[in-house]
């Protein structure tokens, strides 16, 4: 009986195992293979040696990704907190509003940001009329605002596109956390700040960690957002990788860049995970 059920368990897991082997393990091996071979298939570390040239690009990508993730966190956390404390009807409306933009195509959303931020775009012209007004009334000579083709624009694009991935995990974790722990803390005489610092925040750390992962990883590796909003000064590592596959036809360099990017992301996430271990361990 016992053996049979364990067989069933194994079998029920098999679709995912097949999936994982075919579409995760095999491609990963192929990336590694291409990263360490040349055009003819012979082993080489030339590709890896070339990567030092792109160190700056890696750093820029990680920095902008991190910035976008932190901004997402700052926006998402209070919102998730408020949402979780509202009644069920309001919650479903708010969830819906957050999901709504995700129903639209990602490329389209980024493209529309391009037209919003352009010099004759919606936002820029509105801001510039304010600047003109200030200049005229106060006699100042402020420069007109320029938004498109800057790093700020890229970060805005990342935050806008990936914000729901930060809100939803935090919100879910907060919703599921045990209200009685909060009540217990209040009974023990904790004021609102104490309760938040010692109960709510540590309990929501798993949500923060998964939100961080879900925003950071796509932000670091994006190329579409930086191509459309970043101009010539913000070429991210995703752009370089894309070029290797799309135009340069140098799969080997592309694969080795992806390989290194994967390792770097892994390191960043490992550091992030240490936070959750520490805090989780203390509370639970």
């Amino acid at each position: 009986m016992n053996q049979k059920s364990s067989l069933m368990t194994k079998l029920s897991g098999s679709p995912y195992i097949v999936w994982a082997v075919l579409f995760i393990i095999v491609p990963l091996c192929m990336v590694a293979y291409y990263a360490f071979t040349d055009k003819t298939g012979a082993f080489t570390i030339d590709n890896m040696a070339q990567i030092s040239k792109y160190a700056d690009t890696f750093i820029l990508s990680i920095w902008l990704g991190l910035l976008a993730t932190v901004i997402c966190l700052v926006i998402a956390y209070p919102l998730a907190y408020i949402m979780a404390s509202k009644g069920p009807e309001k919650q479903s409306t708010m969830t819906m509003l957050i999901m709504l933009p995700m129903w639209m195509n990602f490329l389209l959303r980024t493209y529309s940001w391009m037209t919003i931020l352009e010099d004759n775009g919606l936002l820029t012209s509105a801001l510039n009329s304010v600047v003109d007004f200030i200049n005229n009334t106060a006699g100042l000579s402020l420069d007109p605002v320029h938004l498109i083709n800057t790093r700020g624009a890229v970060v805005v694009g990342m935050v806008y596109n990936f914000l729901p991935y930060m809100i939803l995990p935090i919100y879910t974790v907060m919703l599921k956390s045990d209200r009685s722990l909060v009540e217990a803390a209040q009974d023990l005489g904790g004021n609102r700040l104490d309760v938040f610092r010692n109960v709510t925040l540590p309990l929501s750390v798993p949500g923060i960690v998964s939100g961080f992962t879900m925003v950071f990883v796509p932000s670091v590796s994006t190329f579409y957002i930086s191509q459309k909003l970043g101009g010539t000064g913000t070429i991210l590592i995703g752009d370089i990788i894309e070029t290797q596959f799309q135009t340069a036809n140098n799969f080997n360099l592309g694969a080795s860049l992806s390989f290194v990017l994967m390792i770097l992301i892994f390191i960043c996430l490992a550091v992030m995970n240490r936070f959750s271990d520490d805090d989780g361990g203390v509370i639970i």
Binding site: D56, I59, E118, G230, G231, T243, T247, A248
Partner: protein, 398 residues
């Protein structure tokens, strides 16, 4: 009497049988066995009359006439198309690459030889576009469009009438200059300006060209392909290099735009229809190519795409809106020196790709990234030490 009648009938029969093969060949060949099949057509974006704005929907027309389904997809650049083709992920029956890419594909044995018996309309293609270097024996392709690259500028934002590529290096237009997001066209501009050949294999020439482009990099707003339409039409950029035919499309929307062929020289290109070697439905593909060369269809495409046409009947057709357009068909005096892209050898291609990467990351000034990242690292380390101390204290307390 009877004999005479018999005689007449017999001679009529003889005549008829002589005429018969001619009569059989002239009308449409029988394609009914292709009914229900599918062809995969792989073309540039916005490069066929598709029924929008009252134009003729060419693919639909083909499907209606022959009962063959057209599976139509787009690519953004020749290199894009090449990678898709060799990666083997998809089979295409008709592809429409440019000159140098046709040379490359033919050299690598990736193209099927066309059976011109099935493409009688090939005779309408002007002789000057046949037998060019990429297909000297007329084996692989039927030209679809031809054209030149030129300088597009906004008359409201640019002083005077530019006639040289050097305006793309003019600091007055910093942040208002757009450049191709593909290496060959972009290098081409610098190479014309430097008086090099765009097909040079001397690596020193490429070094000089990249220096020139690095000089320009701080002034460039962004690398674009089809986004250029929106940006030029909305006065977002002042100067751009792009294909002459596309200028006409933009000019329809924004009449402040103007065009010139820089005096240093421009790239001349031919895009032609080919059939890949691994095509599944070659006969239908040839039928499609022939169909594209029919007068009515070719006129619809030429009107829609706005690129110059290699098709003799279109040039004379009264339905052709751009007949004798001075930009598409400049007279002798206004034609700039031109050069066609050739397929570069492997080393030069690799070198160019490397320089292209270098150019792209050139503009990144990274002080903010360094400062920001080191600050974050310091923060994380401090936080971890703080946690560690707190933990130790707590352990000591218990």
């Amino acid at each position: 009497m009877m004999k005479r009648i018999m005689c007449i009938i017999a001679s009529l029969l003889v005549i008829a049988s002589c005429l018969c093969p001619v009569a059989m060949a002239q009308p449409e060949k029988d394609y009914s066995h292709l009914k229900g099949t599918t062809i995969n057509v792989y073309n540039w974006g916005e490069y066929i009359s598709d029924g929008s704005e009252g134009s003729l929907d060419v693919n639909k027309e083909f499907e209606k006439r022959y009962g063959i389904t057209v599976n139509y997809t787009n690519f953004e650049s020749n290199e894009n198309m090449y990678n898709k083709l060799i990666s083997g992920g998809a089979n295409y029956d008709v592809v429409i690459p440019s000159d140098y890419m046709i040379a490359k594909l033919a050299e690598e044995g990736l193209l099927a030889e066309l059976d011109y018996e099935n493409i009688p309309n090939h005779k309408y293609i002007l002789d000057k576009y046949k037998g060019l270097y990429f297909d000297p024996d007329n084996k692989y392709c039927v030209p679809y469009t031809v054209g030149m690259v030129g300088l597009i500028y906004n008359t409201k934002m640019v002083d005077g009438t530019p006639d040289s590529w050097s305006i793309m290096w003019d600091e007055r237009y910093a942040g208002k200059i757009l450049i191709f997001n593909n290496p060959r066209d972009t290098f081409g501009i610098a190479q014309f300006l430097l008086g090099q050949s765009i097909n040079t294999t001397d690596l020193k020439d490429w070094d000089a060209a990249i220096e020139k482009l690095k000089e320009q990099n701080p002034l460039v707003a962004s690398y674009v392909m089809d986004e250029i339409f929106g940006k030029m039409e909305n006065n977002e950029a002042a100067i751009a290099a792009y294909y002459a035919g596309d200028f006409l499309t933009m000019h329809d929307v924004n009449p402040d735009l103007a065009f010139c062929y820089p005096k240093e020289g421009v790239n001349f290109f031919v895009d032609a229809m080919c059939i890949p070697k691994n095509a599944q439905n070659k006969e239908a593909a040839e039928l499609y190519i022939n169909f594209m060369c029919e007068e009515e269809i070719a006129v619809a495409n030429a009107n829609y795409i706005c690129y110059a046409t290699p098709h003799a009947l279109v040039l004379e057709s009264d339905d052709y809106d751009l007949k004798g357009d001075p930009i598409l068909y400049p007279d002798e005096a206004n034609t700039p020196p031109t050069e066609i892209f050739e397929n570069l050898d492997y080393e030069t291609q690799q070198y160019m790709s490397m320089l292209w990467n270098e150019l792209k990351i050139e503009g990144n000034s990274n002080i903010d990234a360094y400062v920001g990242l080191s600050a974050s690292v310091v923060l994380v380390v401090v936080y971890m030490i703080y946690k560690f101390i707190k933990k130790k204290k707590r352990e000591a307390y218990y």
